[in-house]
Amino acid sequence: MNSPRDLPFLKDAPPAAGLDPVTDDACHIGASRPRTGVRRLTEGRGQFVDDIELPRMVHVVFWRSPVAHARIVRIDSSAVREREGVVGVFTGHDVARLCKPWVATLAHLAGIKSAPEYALALDRAHWQGEPVVAIAAETRVQAEDALQHLIVEWDELPAVLDTETALDAGTPVIHPELGDNLCFERTLDTGGVDDAFAGADAVFEDTYVFGRHTGVTLEPRCQIADWRPGRAVADGHLTVYHSQQAPHMMQDLYCRQFTLAEAQVRVICRDVGGSFGIKVHAYPDDFATVAVSMLLGRPVKFVADRLESFTSDIHAREHRITARIAASANGDIAAFEIDDLTGIGPFSMFPRTSGIEGNQVVNLTGGPYKHKHYRAALKVVFQNKVPTCQYRGVGHPIACAVTEALVDGVARQLGIDPFEMRLRNVIPDDAYPATGASGIKLEVLSHEACLRRARALCNYDALRADQATLRAKGVYRGIGIATLIELTNPSAAFYGVGGARIASQDGATLRLEPSGVVTVLSSVGEQGQGTEAIYTQIAADAVGVALEHVRVITGDTDTTPYGGGTWASRGAGIGGEAVLLAGLVLRENILKTAAVILKRDRGEGADAGLRLRSGTVVDAATGEVLLPLAELGRIAYFRSDTLPKGFTPELMVTRHYAQRDYPFIFTNGVQVSHVEVDVDTGFVKLLGHWAVEDCGRVINPMLVDEQIRGAIVQGIGGALFEECLYNEQGGLANGSLADYLVPMAAEMPDIVVAHVQTPTQSSKLGAKGAGEAGTAGAPAAVMNAINDALAPFGARVASQPITPEKILRALGRL
């Protein structure tokens, strides 16, 4: 048989054509390339946090509040301390002596408020799952066994659960010092909205409900905190191995909460088993684990179990939105109006706040369209449930589902085809830069091109014909379309201007090794998206070396440049640009060094007539091989005696990049969902899904395509299956993977992905983000498809997840 390495599917594909090359020897940017460096993950040789063992390491488990709201009356840990292996039991007061509480607000979210939150609850627990007591033991088994012997007495307090009544006068106030249960509110009014609705030929209105769901990273949140005591705190050193997306942000937070200097704190992120925004926040148990390490002077490992993940990982969504749209008889959209009420748990989440998702809903609703009139009201309220915060898509899935349901609703009233309705109303492709009705700045989008491409790709006319034929036979299929925008490549407008110490810039250092290999150090890390793979491609093209001669190092605050990390779809566009800029300068420096070595530094022009091709310096005119990089490296590093006095090779280059032209670089796309609804059972079968995406320059189509598919599947999960269900007392009723439904392979359709590439002019690379748009558009496309299938019955659903029960109720069959 063939050797596995000769198998046909391993052959390289050529770079995609269409765009001007970024570098003068473009070989890899734009090409589907298998990720280098991941074979170890297929052989069980990854290094996830729970795989790491340190000398003297102990394990911490937490006693978490079993109820939604309680006053802690008494904690008796005497029996715990006698258990075998137990090395410490710590309460909120013990930990608060080391770790300051935090209040998560941002200055640019005017009026946002929250209460001080502690690493371990002090005297009151605010949600089921809040950590209260930490128990450390030599093994995890011993710690869990000991936990059973902890005695805690509590008085249950009334829990605020329902967002609809959270602000009522009779509802208890969770943080009395705040005066009410309102975290944040915002209104936006362009003016002219009432007139637009009064003068409209058609108005469609509905109330949309989005249940809570959560990220379910398959690897739970986990960390090892390793405090090495000094004579004084100022001499100590903290190393944290963390499954995290933003190592520098965590370094900064550990410094601030524990009053340490940056030089004392190192955060290392090796393999991260899924993140999706779940692992970009600072959790109470992150700080508690560090505090326990300080109190014991030993490395401490924390790994959440699945129930802890469900009751302590951030949740997302839980919005109720009343919304309406006004349109003229010929289908011109005149106005949108929304009223959003969202519940975020008892605290605004640290440090990004829990006001962002609602804020995004306000900014993004109606985003693809050219209407001028828009009014929005947002209320973000506290409640005694798990805190919510930014999870993949952040507000986009909600804004998109509401917008696109309204567009479909009014189009149906007017008898206009949904594709035609969208083509008529989107901001035209030749109208950019443009400003949306909410005030969002849009650099350049391609709604029209994407709509046309999507229509052809899904063979829309055939789907409609098939739908009509089958309806006559009692089979109900639906086609749902969603036009979306997604904010990516954020500037400091996202967090920095609000006072958050979260970097919007990222850096890359490229170093030529003596062997001719290029080492890349980047402040953006890898959680599976293929960040390191695309940096390999960019560096290879920018410098002019083979892919296998590039290695990438990320996830270590001690060694990488300073930067923001992974969030808001910025890894390719921001981190990738830094790699490109550093690589181009390194190439120049290599050629300067080559010119000196070859004594061609006089008379051949600025570039000395040299080029760098596949790791070799060649003559630009003849292509003659002049100097392999390994020889250049040997001379530069070991034989500086042979170089002219006054010339020093600079073969390590750092460049940083921050996107400063726009608050965000928006992307756009269109998704089409094709479903069949069984009107007797309410079950939905997903028949097909198509996505046309414009994320600017695509660096590796194979990686982007499957990332989009993964994001679509997560969006479908929220639309059809996933919900954190609470009972009337505020207890999570489905905190296990047996009860909380995550999409499985058999339920998912094949997903066809295509690209329109409109590079951003804000960078040389031209890449925009691609990680979240799938999640943004899928719930809208699926809900519209289901409602299209239900249209003959005059029924529709507006509450996600769209369960069979909700469909049967809409049909009047329950």
Binding site: M1, N2, P4, L7, F9, L10, P34, R35, V38, R39, L41, T42, E43, G44, R45, G46, F48, D50, D51, T139, E144, D145, Q148, G215, V216, T217, L218, E219, P220, D271, G273, G274, S275, F276, R306, Q527, G528, Q529, G530, M702, L703, E706, Q707, R709, G710, A711, I712, V713, Q714, S736, L737, A738, V742, M744, A745, A746, E747, M748, D750, I751
Partner: protein
């Protein structure tokens, strides 16, 4: 829960006889990870749903979190770390990389062993069967499509005679 009497067990792990003493309550995956240092099998849910801890026990795939270590006494356990991957496992590993069928890689060891079982047991599987066959294993990063593509690639290679036939009676 009190500490229980220890049992001495001998397990052939990836071809190597391994003797350890374990508590009867110790799960196979904890035994592999913590007692044997084999970190390739991962814990995702600890109640048999996600499939990240899938290993082979006497050739059959099991959930490492639902089997006790003492149940493996005298038996053969194969994990993704096996030093001598079969040609089919090797081809699956290659196909997963070539198709970008892994992102974070946390589900991958379990997914590969589930896929290997499917390739061996259901050589005629079509795309839909593959989707059903790997539905005991969650992947949260990919859209599953690349995984299905990779498994179908290896099934096609198998049908084209790229591998020695499976020995009779051996799973």
């Amino acid at each position: 829960m009190t500490t229980q009497a220890l049992h001495r067990i001998q397990v052939h792990i990836n071809g190597t006889p391994t003797t350890r003493t374990v508590e009867p309550r110790r799960h196979l995956v904890d035994f592999l990870r913590e007692d044997c240092g084999l970190k390739g099998s991962h814990l995702g849910c600890e109640h048999g749903v996600c499939g990240a801890c899938t290993v082979r026990l006497d050739g059959e795939i099991v959930r490492g979190c639902l089997v006790l270590a003492v149940q493996a006494d005298g038996r053969r356990v194969d994990t993704v770390e096996t030093a001598t991957p079969s040609p089919r496992l090797r081809a699956l590993q290659d196909a997963f990389i070539a198709r970008n069928a892994l992102q974070c890689g946390y589900c991958t060891p379990g997914m590969l062993l589930a896929a290997l079982d499917l390739v061996e047991q259901r050589p005629g599987a079509d795309r839909e069967t593959v989707r059903a066959g790997i539905s005991g294993n969650y992947c949260r990063c990919t859209g599953y499509q690349a995984i299905v593509d990779a498994v179908c690639d290896v099934l096609a290679l198998q049908r084209a005679g790229h591998f020695e036939p499976m020995p009779q009676g051996v799973a």
